[in-house]
């Protein structure tokens, strides 16, 4: 027994291969460690995937997931032909594409600006302030939004009153304002956090590059364009592509919290619609909700996998 234990580490590398059964036996304790996590994974992540079959069934509570009758693609056809189909797809894409366009460059700008600061103390302070909103919960974030934009007593109303404007529009109940509020509150919250990775990339720049450029008479701005920007370009392109893979995903939590009866024409996204037709409905239609969700998940999976393949092809690192 002792001999096998001693040989184990080198076995995998050079010494002639031991039989698989023997290698598995030597590692029995490691498998013991994995039992609980794998059981969790199978029950809470993979079993629900088996539950996806109700998307192709007409779910009846008394028959359960496995016993309900198959209906093929009926639920999907129902969604594709429903008037809500166009609306939820359009809303989802509007919010996420807008989010990508606005949310992607801001952390880069912030990182470049912070990296240019010559005072370490000011840089630290600015970083501390910009990370801060990231730790606010989404409920509180939407709560802050409601308070600041409250047309009666909110901050914006108070400021407008100072300059003599008394009738502030109710942005919170406006469908046109919804994408702007959703996206820019997100930028406000996560700009600082998302800049961390760029700041770290900039910190690893070879200082000799900057010195050489300075000797050649390059201005600070020229150095940003020709040294700093190329440094973060690989990171940026990977993140951009990865974000593009999530273009059909708008999280349930924030959209649902920001939703009210006045702005649903813009705020009904796929995830909130799934919730409404299934769990929240007075006559819950589990099969219909699952079908919409599955349609969305498959598009997402295809997007992420292809985006990852593109990433690999252009020589960047891949996600998995």
């Amino acid at each position: 027994m002792k001999a096998t234990a001693a040989a184990a580490p080198s076995a995998s590398t050079k010494v002639k291969k031991k039989s698989l059964a023997k290698r598995i036996l030597t590692c029995w304790q490691l498998y013991l460690f994995l039992i609980l996590p794998i059981a969790y994974l199978l029950i809470f992540c993979y079993y629900p995937m088996a539950g996806l079959q109700i998307a192709f069934k007409k779910f009846q509570a008394n028959l359960g997931i496995w016993g309900s009758p198959w209906v093929g693609f009926e639920q999907f056809t129902k969604f594709f032909t429903s008037p809500m189909f166009g609306r939820v797809i359009k809303n989802t894409l509007t919010v996420s594409i807008y989010n990508l366009i606005a949310g992607f460059p801001m952390p880069i700008i912030l990182a470049l600006v912070l990296n240019s600061l010559r005072s370490e103390k000011y840089k630290k302070f600015a970083q501390t302030v910009t990370y801060l909103p990231y730790f606010i919960s989404v409920v509180v974030l939407v709560g802050i939004l409601n308070q600041v934009l409250n047309p009666r007593i909110g901050l914006v109303a108070n400021l407008l009153e100072l300059v003599g404007i008394n009738n502030m529009p109710n942005f919170l109940g406006s469908a046109t304002a919804f994408p702007h509020l959703y996206v820019w509150s997100g930028v406000w919250q996560s700009m600082g956090y998302n800049s961390i990775i760029y700041i770290a990339a900039l910190a690893s720049t070879d200082p000799e590059l900057h010195e050489a450029a300075q000797i050649d008479g390059a201005s600070r701005f020229q150095r940003v364009i020709h040294i700093d920007l190329p440094t973060i370009l690989p990171t940026a392109s990977i993140l951009l592509i990865m974000n593009a893979g999530r273009i059909m995903t708008v999280g349930f939590e924030k959209a649902y919290l920001m939703q009210n009866s006045l702005n649903t024409t813009a705020s009904e996204v796929i995830s909130t619609y799934v919730y409404k037709v299934s769990l929240a409905a007075s006559i819950p239609n589990f099969s219909y909700g699952t079908a919409i969700d599955l349609f969305n998940s498959i598009i997402n999976m295809v997007l992420i996998v292809s985006v990852n393949a593109i990433n690999k092809r252009i020589g960047g690192s891949s996600l998995f």
Binding site: P9, F33, V139, N146, Q147, S219
Partner: protein
């Protein structure tokens, strides 16, 4: 021209550089202002009198400073119940998360483990595909976990992202020679985990505790779907009712003197509530900042 050796601030800048620095300072100032101003406004409002808040007088600093809002928050029984539940879920949930993540990451970090690739694939696949809202809800219901504390701490017990950073950390910080030496001394895999890996993984455990604890503190989705018993609600669900759904029960404000200003107080209470619910996370913030940066960096190294 700036010499790197000399103190940069004492060197005169070229005209271009002066313009550049002026521009970045303006940009940064505006960004900081936009980020910090709403926060100052919330804090100031929370310390103002209900009448001033209701009249929309607060612009920057507290107007007629008072603690009325905070008194109302702590008289609200919902908030106290929510606070208690959230603390409980955060502690229990984080413990389960960290334990599960570590026991999963340790074997997966071992290069010689047969079948490692299959297990890794099982985990990573859940990052790109999952059962979704309805099948997961049905599972929780069939397991009779609805309206139990387990619905708050078991689903999501392992975050695959955290698992990956933990695995990368263990692989890169615990040298193979250490394992080999221990094995020669007859140390078992389990003993090696408890006596070597755990003590050497303090930094990553700190990162995990922070990531998970803040996640639990701020979470509302699971509670929203799986809990209907108000006695089990976490703080975020009550916050949602009060801050967003606007269903503050003014009859809960017992002080008769303030009864007249109920609406004003209801408005004020929201500001104080935002502060009270966010302060615990902000207290952790100095540690959080240090370790979050670390966590993001470990995460960005491909495992």
């Amino acid at each position: 021209m700036t010499n790197t050796k000399a103190k940069k601030s004492s060197i005169s800048l070229s005209r271009d550089d002066k313009i550049y620095y002026a521009v970045i300072h303006v940009i940064l100032f505006l960004l900081l202002l936009i980020i910090i101003y709403p926060l100052i406004y919330i804090v100031s409002s929370s310390f103002s009198a209900a009448s001033s808040v209701a009249a929309g007088k607060v612009i920057l600093w507290p107007v007629d400073p008072s603690l009325e809002g905070y008194e109302a928050v702590f008289e609200n029984s919902d908030v106290l119940v929510g606070y208690r539940n959230t603390i409980f879920y955060t502690i229990l949930g984080t413990f389960i998360n960290v334990a599960m993540t570590l026991i999963a990451a340790y074997p997966l970090a071992r290069r010689e483990l047969p079948g490692k690739t299959i297990f890794m694939f099982l985990f990573t696949f859940t990052m790109i595909f999952n059962g979704g809202m309805v099948p997961t809800y049905m599972l929780i219901r069939d397991l009779h976990m609805l309206n139990t504390i387990w619905a708050m701490v078991i689903p999501g017990a392992i975050s695959v992202y955290n698992l990956m950073i933990t695995r990368t950390f263990i692989q890169s910080s615990i040298p193979n020679e250490l394992l080999e030496a221990a094995q020669i001394d007859g140390c078992s895999d389990a003993k090696f985990f408890f006596t070597m890996v755990l003590p050497l993984s303090k930094a990553i455990i700190a990162v995990l505790v922070l990531f998970y604890a803040i996640g639990h503190w701020n979470a509302y989705f699971n509670a929203f779907l799986y809990l209907s018993d108000r006695g089990l609600f976490p703080l975020q669900l009550f916050l949602r009712e009060i801050l967003i759904a606007n269903t503050i029960d003014t009859s809960q404000i017992v002080d008769p003197e303030v009864a007249a200003a109920k609406q004003g107080l209801a408005d004020l209470l929201k500001y104080s509530l935002i502060i009270v619910s966010t302060v615990p996370v902000m207290c952790l913030y100095p540690f959080v900042q240090k370790y979050f940066v670390k966590g993001v960096m470990i995460g960005s190294i491909k495992g």
